[in-house]
């Protein structure tokens, strides 16, 4: 886990190579390059409008990059259906919660689990053994994930009736259910108070310890500093810094981006 950049990307799980994303005349991302290494928690930070969520959307196939490419686990992510990208092993949560409101917490998670299901319409109609086995395993795995996230007591409640904190956790559980190699969290602590934020960061570390690689978007710098291994800083669609939290904190460009002007911070 050396902090030095690795441009060749040999050991990278996901590699972003000079990605540019234009919407009309506006370049939301210009020539952004960085790697995510297996097993790390990478923070993607920047002031509002820096292009963090756009980067996310390029990585998960919601947008097609104007130029440049994203390579995940040896596969170039271009022109691949979004659901297939999820099956390759990238899962995400949403900045503004997007659960399936009428489904129960358990069912939300099972939908994620079923990203890798083999059984289809015929198997379900005839109750074939593969269908029965997957039903059973899906429920079991979903329940385990709800327990892991500490929200199993409301497994049978409709997602829309869950408290806000539960909904945020449920999103993470649903993403984990797709069995990802890379878990992308888009401001998972939004709307949390400081104590809750700290708890969530502990949970993210726990998720990493289970063997997942985590990409974390957050604009609260202090928060990111505590949990991430490395940080990439975006500002106006450009990468302005990359390194360990300590390095990034000391970087004058980062300080300028966050405070607007040079500051006396050392």
């Amino acid at each position: 886990m050396a902090p030095s950049p690795d441009p060749a990307g040999h050991d990278a799980l996901l590699s972003v190579q000079s990605v540019t994303m234009r919407f009309g005349g506006l370049a939301a991302l210009s020539e952004v390059t960085f790697d995510i290494r297996p097993g790390e928690i990478l923070g993607l930070i920047g002031p509002n409008g820096a292009g963090k969520t756009t980067m996310f959307n390029v990585m998960t196939g919601v947008y097609q990059a104007t130029s440049g490419e994203v390579t995940f686990d040896g596969t170039v992510l271009r022109g691949i259906d979004r659901y297939k990208i999820t099956r390759l092993g990238i899962a995400r949560t949403f900045q503004n919660i997007r659960l399936f409101p009428e489904m129960t917490a358990l069912e939300n998670v099972i939908v994620g689990y079923e990203a890798h299901s083999q059984s289809g319409v015929v198997a379900a109609m005839l109750h074939l053994p593969v269908h029965r086995r997957e039903e059973r395993e899906g429920r079991q795995r979903a329940m385990d994930l709800l327990r892991f996230m500490g929200i199993a007591d409301r497994a049978n409640d409709a997602a829309k009736n869950l408290p806000y904190g539960y909904q945020r956790r449920l999103e993470i559980a649903r993403a984990l259910a797709t069995n990802p190699k890379l878990l992308c969290l888009d401001e998972p602590a939004a709307g949390f108070n400081p104590a809750e934020k700290i708890e969530l960061m502990g949970l993210i570390r726990k998720i990493r310890d289970q063997g997942y690689t985590v990409l974390l978007i957050e604009h609260d710098m202090n928060l990111v500093m505590g949990v991430t291994d490395r940080i990439v800083v975006l500002d106006f669609g450009r990468k302005i810094a990359e390194g360990t939290p300590t390095e990034v904190r000391a970087n004058p460009a980062v300080i300028a981006a966050y405070l607007g002007v040079d500051s006396d911070a050392s």
Partner: protein
Amino acid sequence: MSSAPPMPTEDPDRIASHAGPPTAAAKQVFGQRMAAASATMRRWSDAWARLPTVVRWSLLGLLLVFLYTLPLTKPWPIDTPGTDLAGVLGGTVVPYVVVALGLNVVVGMAGLLDLGYVGFYAVGAYTLGVLTSRHANLPWLLCLPICIVVSMVVGVLLGAPTLRLRGDYLAIVTLGFGEIIRLLAERLDWLGTINGIQGIGPPPNVGPFKFGVLNKNSFFYLGLTVIIVVYFFLKRLENSRVGRAWTAIREDEDAAELMGVPTFRFKLWAFAIGAAVGGLAGMLYAGKAGFINPDGFKINLSILFIAAVVLGGPGNMPGVVIGGIVVSYLPERFRFLNTSRYMWFGIALVIMMIFRPQGLLPRRAHGRTQPPDPPTFEDVKEGDPDLEGGAHGALA
């Protein structure tokens, strides 16, 4: 409940005590009604689930006996004055119920507005017509799978290019599709033009059950059996990965796709299955009527089909069965009102939609998939539901 406000929403029990801004008042009343109705639904279905298995099966058995003997007993409030009850049930009600079940897959479960469903109904009916009368003389039983497959293929052909469209756009395209099918039947000599097709083959006689103009009871028995079989298979789909995928697509298509649901494939499946069931309904109708022409497949029929689903409660299978019965049976029951009966029917629909917009039996979208084992005491201890974002246990 597609009109549910964005999350986070409140507990249905709490909505009543919530005083929203005046602009939201109407929406709130609406929401209250929806919540109350679905809570009632939940209580009923929970009560049903709590009954001992023996009792449930006995009750279902009694219901079946009641239904199968309807043409013989002809109980007073149900019997249709002036027409034979068996004829009404077998010839009108049965196809509508099958249609409602099929359309419910598309509209209720997957949330795709299909305004041209009559097209599939026509495809099923005309396939039977072509194969048993106009161009061939195949047995009805052989035509059964052919009609289903042909309708299914037509469903896929319509769905493949159009299911990339969403909402209103899909509705417009399907509306056009229904008309195209009817116009083809009207123009193509091969399909009998405006004269239609006569002498369509009835189902084969089985023992005492004969299928002719005078054997109305047999058609009802056959139709009821088909309904039960279709219901059984669709229920299995609803309670499976497929049903969950449809619900996910209906609630948030983008999120579903990003969670690994192949949305296009499942929407196409919904269309194909809906089309197959619609074709089956058309085939039942044509086999009973023995005669079809393009006038029988006009656009207003599509609207009536949608009405059956919306009235019964989209996404609720018992609901849409009732919807199908109401839409087809009531106009026959009140035939004595003569020409004004459709006006009364329309008024009833409007009143119904004002006071019960969620349908007779509202959808119960969640809670079909039960956990492998109920939440344990430890789970409850771990996450305190009163503490937003609580669950300290998970971090220990």
